[in-house]
């Protein structure tokens, strides 16, 4: 794996330097990444459940005799 590096920009001088990440920085980054992945998985699961419920409802309405245009108009 590529060694994680940090660019340090000093706005007071305009000078940029590069250094390896510290262990604390790597840990914080990994924790944030895990939290984001969990939230994203939760959001995608909710979206999938919503889409499935919508498809199911549309199928039931079609079985009752509604046309696709009528279902879309609801």
């Amino acid at each position: 794996m590529t060694t994680p590096t940090v660019i340090e920009v000093d706005c007071s001088t305009g000078i940029s330097t590069e250094r390896p990440m510290t262990a604390d920085e790597i840990q914080a980054m990994e924790e944030r990444t895990a939290a984001f992945a969990a939230e994203q998985a939760e959001r995608e699961a909710a979206d999938a459940a919503k889409a499935a419920a919508k498809a199911s409802a549309e199928a039931k309405l079609a079985a009752l005799g509604l046309t696709a245009d009528e279902i879309a108009a609801l």
């Binding site: 590096t5 914080a28 980054m29 944030r32 990444t33 939290a35």
Partner: protein
């Protein structure tokens, strides 16, 4: 609006720290054009202020749209400032992110507005709007950005502006 610093990367990097932000403006406006080394198609960019790390004290509300569905979420622990273009996206495309921080030099909590889009002229597109309150009561003197362990790719650009009013 005055540019404080601008940089286009000529090498790949994991983190970018902007330090010693001058305390002479009212607001900050950070403009990013970035691409990640990730390969999931759903990586994010995070930004932390004044030495904060995960978990932060914040309150973020996010609205996301991808052209076919929309969703909304809230979190209070980590900064996700939008999906980034990565190796799964169209070559040579970069995601765009803007972060507006009001009253950054005060001891009040920091109100933030984020706009983000990972448009690639393909199907994998996400627009992202976020508003939030970063509950740090110290001035924003530095901003740390990361891509969750992936690398900012060469050509990624970041520009920080100071705004007086």
């Amino acid at each position: 609006m005055q540019p404080i610093f601008s940089r286009t990367l000529t090498s790949t990097n994991t983190n970018i720290n902007i330090n010693n932000i001058p305390q002479i403006y009212n607001d900050l406006y950070l403009v990013l054009s970035v691409r990640s080394s990730g390969s999931t198609g759903s990586g994010s960019i995070g930004a932390y202020f004044s030495g904060q790390t995960y978990p932060s004290l914040a309150s973020w509300t996010t609205a996301v749209g991808n052209g076919s569905s929309v969703s909304s979420s809230r979190n209070s622990a980590y900064q996700n400032f939008g999906n980034v273009n990565d190796t799964t996206h169209t070559a040579n495309t970069f995601s765009s992110h803007t972060i507006y921080i009001s009253d950054y030099g005060t001891t009040k909590f920091k109100q933030c507005i984020v706009d983000s889009v990972s448009e690639t002229n393909a199907t994998a597109v996400q627009t992202f709007m976020l508003s939030g309150l970063d509950r740090i009561n110290i001035p924003v003197t530095s901003i740390t950005m990361d891509m969750g362990g992936n690398l900012f790719q060469i050509g990624s650009t970041m520009t920080l502006y100071g705004i007086s009013r």
